[in-house]
């Protein structure tokens, strides 16, 4: 019986001009967005790979010089684009694309692509994720609101129920029919997406679990909207009331909630200004953390300790290069300061994000948004992971160079020069996409919120079916 109702619902939809027109528009937008997203993903990704190799070459091709001069010359890293970013570019346009690694400094990522664009981007970009998160739910609302309410208004609901059809069967059949008709819209885009992902190079293989999880997430999300729309349609006084209720739910979810959540989190947990942040770091390095232990004091103590350790009277008599040790010591002090301040900043960001994710329990769009960005590798946690990886790499390079100066430059002081074999011996920077398990773990909140909403909407629809009124 359910299948028969579903088939009737499907046929009805397919014959409906409004369905065909809106389905065509959405399908075209979805395919277009996927294609455009993939093209720009490919360009950027190729460029970053090329630039990364070139930057490394620059570092390796330095002439003979003091290792510390090489540390000052530094190295550029470019944020790699993970394969699924073409579906959901997430925060990528609003984070820097490159970071400069050098001695003494922890630099922020620079060059936000969003600054090189017009204000139009603030309306929201046309991406596959945006179509799935915003437009598809609206299409579901518009197609589903009359499904039960209109039958009641036309009196056909009474007829159907008088035939002995169980309300549960009727509702399930409608849900199935609508789901299939909506699924048809997504099929071509999903096929193209899968094809493009196969084309995306060697890394893509590792992202299949992510892609699958993403598809499941969207399926659940859109399912929630379908079930809720049917529930409202079953309960509403009229189809007009059903439409207004659902539109309001959609607007609050997709338009108001994200901005409201953002503003509230910024209001309650303000982000420090760049000026305050960097001034505090400079101050702590110069005067010591909390004003204890200023830099020159630290240097004097280090010198004394070394002279005692090696039992000599002058720095020149040390069997190691004092500059190398002093540089590394100041580096480590700086690292402690950077860690302290960056960790505080990121704790702030995490709290802001947690507040937003918490609201995901109230509004499913917030939850899918987080999950989708997480799986695409374009969320804050992966941005953080990249900048931490870059910082770790910086510390390795600077430490290796200082160590070389310390050991090999013993009696030459700053006159010591190292050659390309040292530059070439630096480890390569590699950033790996996190495993699916850890992504899902980090997005546990969003997953739970979606499951909660799915369970809730099933339960609500169930109840509405049981108490279905014919008039």
């Amino acid at each position: 019986m359910i299948v028969r109702i579903a088939r009737k619902e499907l046929t009805e939809q397919l014959r409906d001009g409004r369905f065909r027109a809106s389905a065509a528009i959405i399908a075209v937008l979805l395919i277009g967005a996927t294609a455009v997203g993939w093209r720009s993903w490919r360009d950027v990704s190729e460029e970053h790979t090329r630039a990364q190799a070139e930057a490394r070459e620059h570092f390796e091709c330095q002439e003979e010089k003091n290792p510390h001069a090489a540390a000052h010359y530094g190295l550029y890293l470019f944020k790699p684009k993970l394969p699924l970013a073409f579906v959901d570019p997430g925060i990528d346009p609003y984070t820097g694309v490159s970071v400069y690694l050098e001695a003494h400094q922890r630099n922020d990522l620079q060059h936000r692509p969003a600054r090189d664009a017009t204000a139009l981007q603030r309306f929201g970009e046309l991406t596959a994720a945006a179509v799935l998160q915003f437009l598809m739910p609206l299409l579901i609302v518009v197609l589903t609101f009359p499904s039960i309410a209109a039958e009641r208004e036309q009196g056909t609901l009474r007829q159907v129920l008088s035939l002995g059809v169980q309300p549960g069967q009727l509702v399930a059949g409608k849900a199935l029919g609508l789901a299939v008709s909506l699924g048809l819209i997504a099929v071509p885009a999903v096929a193209i997406g899968v094809y493009l992902l196969i084309q995306s190079g060697p890394d893509a293989e590792k992202t299949w679990p992510h892609a699958l999880a993403m598809a499941t997430g969207y399926l659940v999300y859109l399912g929630i909207f379908l079930l809720l729309s049917l529930t409202v349609s079953a309960r509403a006084r009229s189809s007009r009331a059903a439409l207004i209720t659902l539109l309001a739910f959609w607007i609050v979810n997709t338009m108001i909630a994200p901005r409201l959540a953002t503003d509230l989190s910024r209001r309650w947990l303000p982000t420090p200004s760049s000026l305050e942040f960097h001034a505090a770091i400079d101050r702590d390095i110069r005067q010591g953390i909390d004003g204890h232990d200023p830099a020159d004091e630290r240097l004097r103590r280090l010198e004394e300790d070394l002279l005692t350790q090696y039992d000599v009277d002058f720095v020149e008599d040390l069997p190691v290069n004092f500059q190398g040790i002093a540089l590394q010591a100041s580096e480590e002090y700086g690292n402690a300061v950077f860690d302290r301040h960056h960790d505080t900043l990121w704790e702030r960001f995490w709290l802001q994000n947690a507040l937003r994710k918490g609201l995901g329990f109230v509004l499913p769009t917030l939850a899918i948004r987080e999950l989708s960005m997480g799986l695409a590798g374009t969320d804050t946690s992966q941005y953080h992971e990249f900048s931490e990886a870059a910082e770790t790499h910086r510390r390795i390079i600077v430490r290796t160079l200082n160590k070389d100066l310390e050991i090999n430059g013993a009696d030459l002081g700053f006159m010591y020069q190292a050659g390309p074999e040292l530059w070439e011996s630096m480890p390569l920077f590699r950033y790996e996409m996190p495993e699916i398990g850890s992504v899902l773990f980090r997005q546990a909140f969003a997953c739970l919120a979606l499951i909660f909403w799915l369970a809730l909407s099933i339960e609500l629809l169930n109840r509405s079916a049981r108490s279905l009124r014919a008039d």
Binding site: R122, F349, T380
Partner: protein, 469 residues
């Protein structure tokens, strides 16, 4: 007659509670939007106070150092020009900045100007959670562009269809009353309620937020702002009337209007954005990073030769004393060479962006939402035009800065205490209001023409309107 209709309509709407509910929502979101904008302006103000204090402190230390008896030789000019004496060029928040945050969360409101190249301007970004930038803020601009049309549509999607469905339209029109007059009366009531409230609450909130009304072009900008809000509202009312005039059911009207709203507020801007980017692609900054790196590598290997050539170009700058600072001169020459070789790339960025903006200016007529969005940002002074205006002043200040310091550096002439007062300072010149008005007026045309066209279409449609279905 129109007024009498409006009176009755108001009574009906109040009795229905819809108007009250919708008005409360409107008041709440407008006030919240302005409060949000005001807190952003306060944040920017405190940042600017912070940089001013930082600069003052640096100068105080410099003065102290130069005033101390041991510093007869002064401080090397290159140190003052690059770091110790670097000055901030700050962009004050516009008089109406609390209304629209616009692009101001993306562009830093100040630039540190030193003898370093202008590529360093791009480096200063305000720290922000990237998700916040991606999402955008809940400011009055967002309320006006996105939610205000929805409120208008929520009140008028069933302007006629409801009366028809209830059967009251026949009764009404059996009176000596023309359908046109009825519609005008209904629209008038709603317009006064929605547009009036939006305006009163925004002005009230900005007054409460402690903005100085006497400041600058406050009144002219406010007038522009009001004109945009009224015309944008008029467009959406006209759209609702036109859809109603087609004589469909309330539910169909609601779907059609929601669809049009989504199309104009979200889909068309996103498509225009794609088109603009495809037509004038901005090169990637990755390329620029690489170009700078290549140029500086080259310059460093050619160091001495560059310096020699630099002096050939500027014979007047060679100091009489031989012991000028080798390092400072070398780095100036290198910087010069780097800048020459990346100038083209940098210009390419700016030109492409300018072309993109020109195209957006043309294509904004495709959607009143784009036209209104740009106009609101212009009126509030948080759009890209004012930022570009600021950046061009920064560039000339930068040139002035270098013109002051380069000769000193090359002549190895240190800075003395009395010279600190002569170091250039930056003052922002506000964009002439006539220019702002001109831009906003073009945007207004993009609102008024579609509204008038819709009204013109509605008149014959209403004449043929069938009262009984």
């Amino acid at each position: 007659m129109v007024l009498r209709i409006a009176q009755h309509e108001a009574r009906l709407l109040i009795a229905d509670r819809t108007l009250i509910a919708v008005s409360l929502v409107l008041v709440a979101i407008v006030a919240y939007g302005v409060a949000n904008g005001a807190s952003w302006v306060a944040f920017q103000q405190s940042t600017r106070d912070g940089i001013a204090a930082e600069e003052q402190e640096r100068y105080r230390q410099l003065r102290e150092r130069l005033g101390s008896p041991g510093s007869g030789t002064g401080v090397p000019a290159d140190q003052v020009g690059t770091s110790l004496g670097a000055r901030y060029a700050a962009l004050p928040s516009g008089p109406l900045a609390a209304f629209v945050i616009g692009q101001s969360d993306l562009y830093p409101s100040y630039v540190k100007v030193s003898t370093e190249g202008r590529q360093s301007f791009a480096a200063a970004d305000e720290i922000e959670n990237p998700v916040h930038l991606l999402t955008g803020r809940f400011d009055l601009g967002f309320v006006i562009i996105t939610l205000y049309p929805l409120i208008i549509l929520a009140l008028s999607y069933n302007l006629l269809s409801n009366e028809k469905e209830q059967g009251t339209l026949v009764l009404l029109l059996s009176q000596p009353l023309r359908l046109r007059t009825l519609v005008a009366g209904k629209v008038l009531t709603r317009a006064i309620a929605v547009v009036g409230l939006a305006i009163v609450v925004s002005i009230g909130s900005i007054a409460l937020s402690g903005q100085d009304a006497a400041e600058g072009d406050f009144t002219s900008r406010l007038a522009l702002w009001l004109a945009i809000v009224v015309s944008y509202g008029a467009f959406w009312f006209a759209l609702a009337v036109a859809i109603n005039a087609l004589g469909r059911s309330s539910a169909t009207n609601a779907v059609a209007l929601a669809g049009t709203w989504l199309l104009l507020v979200a889909v068309v801007p996103a498509l225009v954005n794609v088109l603009v980017r495809a037509t004038y692609p901005v090169p990637s900054r990755v390329e620029l990073v690489q170009a700078i790196r290549n140029a500086s590598n080259e310059a460093q290997t050619e160091g001495t030769r560059l310096k020699a050539r630099y002096f050939e170009d500027h014979p007047e700058l060679v100091g009489a004393e031989a012991d000028y600072s080798e390092f400072a001169i070398q780095s100036l020459a290198t910087q010069n060479a780097i800048e020459r070789s990346i100038a083209e790339t940098l210009d390419h960025f700016e030109n492409q962006l300018r072309r993109q903006q020109t195209l957006v200016d043309r294509l904004r007529f495709l959607s009143p939402a784009i036209a209104a969005f740009e106009a609101l940002q212009d009126a509030a002074g948080t759009g890209s035009a004012r930022y570009r205006h600021f950046m061009s002043q920064v560039e000339s200040f930068h040139a002035q800065w270098r013109a002051y310091f380069h000769p000193l550096i090359l002549r190895a002439q240190p800075i003395q205490a009395d010279e600190l007062e002569r170091i250039p300072t930056f003052t922002y010149e506000e964009e002439p209001i006539s220019q702002v008005t001109e831009r906003v007026t073009i945007g207004l045309i993009g609102l008024v023409i579609p509204a008038a066209a819709l009204a013109a279409i509605s008149v014959p449609l209403l004449r043929r309107f069938t009262v009984v279905s």
